[in-house]
C-alpha cells in the first residue's frame, strides 16, 4: 500500500500545491504529552518515529547544517533560553542580521503558521527551508549549494545509516525532503507543559504564590485583555492540534510602531503586510506563546523591548507608538487600549508570567545536544 500513499503525495504536490491533511502520529510513538495537552498535528507524509526524532535532533545541533560549518539551528535556538538566542535579532552564519527576533520553539508543534507572520508556512517541514536556503538574510547559507550538504551528510559521521533507518522508503534517503522532515519531527517533540502554572492547574495548590494567582486574575481580566490573544493551554490564539478541524491563523497589530500616523511599521519588517501587501495587514504578527517567557528576552518581533516589565509598560500605555506619537495607531488591535496597574499589580502580573517557565523543559536531556556540548 505504501507506494500508493507516496503516489498520492506526489500528485498533490505536483498539481495543487496542496499538502496532505493531518493524521495521527506514527503507530506506537509516545509523545510524552504534558497533562491536558492535545495530540499535535502531524502531516500524513511525515509520521513520527523515534528514528526520525533522533536524527532530527542531531541535525538540529550539528554545525554541518551551515555551509561554513559555523552554525547549527541550535545556534539561534538554545535550549536553556527555551530555544531563543538572547539577541534582539538573529545573526546568520555569515554575520548577516535577520530583521526578526529568533522565536522560541516550545510547543511549536501546535503553531499553525510558522515564523512571526507568514500564513504561507503551515508546516515545520516547509519552514525549515527558510533557514537552510534563505538568502535575504543568509542564515545557514545553502541556497544553490544543497548538494554540498547532502555530500557531507552522506560521508560524515553516521548520518548515512541514520537517514536510511529513519527513511527506509525514501530514495535518496538524504534529501531536502528527509532533512526537513527529520528536523520537523524533532521540533514537534519540544513540548513544554510542566511549569508551576501547569502543576497548579493540575491540582497542586502550592505551585503558585498568592502574588502569581492575583497576576493570573489580572491576566484574564477585561481590564488587561491579555488572554484574548494569549489564550488557552499554549497562551496563544494561533494554535492547532490533531482535533482542530480548520485552524484559525490570527495576526495582530499591537501598536509597537506608527511611523506616519497611518500605522506604518519600519519598511521590510511590517509583519503580515510583507506577505499579503494589504495595508490593513501592516504590523500584524502572530501572538507568540508566553511559555518560558522569563528566559526569552528581548521581546517582540524585532527584539526592541528588553525586559518583561517594559513589555507590560508597552501594553499599559496602549502601545509604545501611542506614547511616542500621542495617538493610537489606526491599525492597532482594539484590544490594545491601555490600562493602569499599581506597582503591586505589576509585580503580581510578573509573578504569574514567571510561573509559566518550565525548568524541566529547559534542561530535558531529550532536547539537548547529542554531541555532549552544544554549539
Amino acid at each position: 500500500m505504501r507506494w500508493w500513499l507516496a503516489l498520492g503525495v506526489v500528485v498533490l504536490a505536483a498539481c495543487g500545491g496542496m499538502a496532505p491533511g493531518p493524521a495521527d502520529a506514527g503507530p506506537g510513538f509516545d509523545w510524552h504529552l504534558p497533562k491536558g495537552f492535545p495530540t499535535p498535528t502531524v502531516p500524513a507524509d511525515n509520521p513520527m518515529t523515534d528514528e526520525k526524532v533522533e536524527l532530527g535532533r542531531r541535525l538540529f545541533y550539528d554545525v554541518r547544517l551551515s555551509k561554513n560549518r559555523t552554525q547549527a539551528c541550535a545556534s539561534c535556538h538554545e535550549q536553556r533560553r527555551a530555544f531563543t538566542d538572547g539577541r534582539p535579532v538573529g545573526i546568520g552564519s555569515t554575520g548577516e542580521a535577520h530583521p526578526r527576533n529568533a522565536q522560541g520553539l516550545a510547543n511549536v508543534a501546535y503553531v499553525p503558521t510558522l515564523t512571526w507572520a507568514n500564513p504561507l508556512l503551515a508546516t515545520l517541514e516547509r519552514q525549515a527551508l527558510l533557514p537552510l536556503l534563505g538568502e535575504h538574510p543568509v542564515e545557514l547559507g545553502f541556497a544553490g549549494a544543497e548538494g554540498e550538504l547532502f555530500e557531507r551528510l552522506a560521508t560524515e559521521g553516521d548520518y548515512a545509516e541514520r537517514f536510511a533507518r529513519a527513511f527506509p522508503d525514501e530514495a535518496p534517503s538524504i534529501s531536502l525532503v528527509t532533512i526537513t522532515r527529520a528536523l520537523a519531527a524533532f521540533q514537534r517533540t519540544l513540548l513544554s507543559g510542566n511549569s508551576p502554572y501547569d502543576r497548579w492547574v493540575n491540582g497542586d495548590a502550592s505551585a503558585l504564590s498568592d502574588s502569581a494567582k492575583r497576576g493570573l486574575e489580572l491576566f484574564n481580566s477585561e481590564a488587561l485583555e491579555c488572554y484574548h490573544c494569549h489564550a488557552g493551554f499554549n497562551f496563544s490564539d494561533s494554535v492547532a492540534h490533531a482535533g482542530t478541524a480548520a485552524p484559525e491563523t490570527p495576526f495582530h497589530n499591537t501598536g509597537l510602531y506608527n511611523l506616519d500616523g497611518n500605522g506604518a511599521y519600519p519598511a521590510g519588517n511590517a509583519g503580515l503586510f510583507d506577505i499579503t501587501g494589504r495595508l490593513g495587514d501592516m504590523g500584524r504578527f502572530r501572538a507568540p506563546s508566553l511559555r518560558n517567557l522569563t528566559v526569552t528576552a528581548p521581546y517582540m518581533h524585532d527584539g526592541s523591548i528588553a525586559t518583561l516589565r517594559d513589555v507590560i509598560t508597552h501594553y499599559a500605555q496602549g502601545g509604545r507608538s501611542k506614547r511616542m506619537t500621542g495617538a493610537l495607531s489606526p491599525l492597532q488591535s482594539d484590544l490594545v487600549r491601555g490600562f493602569t496597574l499599581s506597582a503591586q499589580e505589576t509585580d503580581d502580573l510578573l509573578a504569574f508570567l514567571e510561573s509559566l517557565t518550565d525548568a524541566e523543559f529547559l534542561s530535558n536531556p531529550a532536547f539537548s545536544s547529542p554531541f555532549g556540548t552544544g554549539p
Partner: protein
C-alpha cells in the same frame, strides 16, 4: 521508488499544457522548429560571469553573481495568426512539464554559488510553419509555483530559485555586485501578495502575479535568437543605492522604490505605474 517516480512524471506531464498537433503551414515546405536560442547581453557585449559591465543610470560597474530565469507557455504564431505551442521536451535537467530554466551563469567569477552547467536553448517541437511571432511567459505557472519545492523535480529543484518565504519560486534571479552596493544588488522577480489556501502550505491566489508575457516578431527559419539585455533591463535604475530598510535591489516588494523602473522594463504594473510593453527581450 521507480513506480512513484514514473507516476510523478505522468502527473507533472498532465499538469502542463496538453501536447497539441501543430498545424501551422501544412502544404508548405517548412522544417519543424526544435530549438529556440536565447542570448544574454549587456548592450553589445555578451554576458559572462567573471566580467565587469558598465550598467544602470547613472552608469556603475556591475559584476554578475547570478543570472537565471524560468519561462513557460512558449508559442509560435503563424502569419495567419494561428498559435502553435512549442512543446518543451522533458530533459531531466532544465525542462519539464512545459517549464524551462534558462541559466546564463556558469559558476565563474562572482557566480560561485551557481552551477557550471548553463542552458540557453529551449528544446522542443513545433511543426514547421511560416511563423512570424514568438511568445513566452517569464516565470513558473501558478499550478507549479506553489508546490512543495523540497520535493520538486528539475528544473524546479534549483534551491537558488526557491522563494519559500513567499510560497513560490523566484521567476528571475539576476544578482550582481556594484560599486555602490558591494554586498550586492539583487533582482528577484516572483509572485507577491499571495494568500494562503485552505490546505496547509497552499496558496489560493496572488495579488501580483508578476509573470511578464513577452511577444516578439520572430522567424525561426532565419536563425533568429531571443536576446535578453541587462543594459536595457537596468536602464533607469540606480544600481549604486538602495532605499533603507528595503531589500538590497528589487525583490519584488510592492513598496520597494527600486522595483519601479525594473518592473516597467518587464512591462509589469507596479503600484500606480500601469502595465506597459516589455523592453528587456528583443530578437536578432
Amino acid at each position: 521508488m521507480t513506480r512513484s517516480l514514473v507516476a510523478s512524471l505522468l502527473v507533472l506531464a498532465a499538469c502542463g499544457p496538453a501536447p497539441m498537433t501543430a498545424d501551422g503551414g501544412s502544404g508548405h515546405a517548412h522544417t519543424d522548429v526544435t530549438q529556440l536560442t536565447f542570448k544574454a547581453r549587456v548592450g553589445t557585449q555578451d554576458f559572462a560571469c567573471g566580467q565587469t559591465y558598465t550598467l544602470g543610470t547613472p552608469p556603475t560597474q556591475y559584476r554578475p553573481r547570478d543570472f537565471r530565469l524560468y519561462v513557460h507557455d512558449v508559442v509560435l504564431t503563424t502569419e495567419e495568426g494561428v498559435d502553435v505551442p512549442f512543446t518543451l521536451t522533458d530533459d531531466g535537467a532544465f525542462q519539464k512539464a512545459g517549464v524551462a530554466l534558462l541559466d546564463f551563469e556558469n559558476r565563474a567569477g562572482e557566480c560561485s554559488a551557481g552551477t557550471e552547467a548553463t542552458n540557453t536553448v529551449l528544446r522542443g517541437l513545433a511543426a514547421g510553419g511560416h511563423y512570424e511571432k514568438l511568445s513566452f511567459t517569464v516565470g513558473v505557472p501558478f499550478a507549479q509555483n506553489h508546490q512543495d519545492a523540497a520535493a520538486a523535480a528539475a528544473p524546479l529543484n534549483s534551491t537558488a530559485m526557491f522563494w519559500n518565504w513567499n510560497g513560490g519560486y523566484k521567476f528571475v534571479k539576476i544578482d550582481g555586485l556594484t560599486t555602490g552596493l558591494p554586498m550586492g544588488h539583487n533582482l528577484h522577480l516572483g509572485s507577491t501578495g499571495c494568500m494562503a489556501g485552505a490546505a496547509p502550505n497552499s496558496v489560493a491566489s496572488c495579488t501580483n502575479a508578476n509573470r511578464p508575457r513577452v511577444t516578439l516578431t520572430f522567424n525561426p527559419e532565419l536563425g533568429a535568437a531571443v536576446v535578453l539585455d541587462l543594459a536595457r533591463l537596468f536602464e533607469g535604475s540606480n544600481l549604486d543605492t538602495n532605499t533603507a530598510m528595503t531589500a538590497p535591489g528589487c525583490m519584488s516588494g510592492a513598496t520597494d522604490p527600486e522595483c519601479a523602473p525594473i518592473f516597467q522594463k518587464f512591462g509589469l504594473p507596479f503600484g500606480p505605474q500601469p502595465a506597459g510593453t516589455q523592453s528587456v527581450f528583443s530578437v536578432e
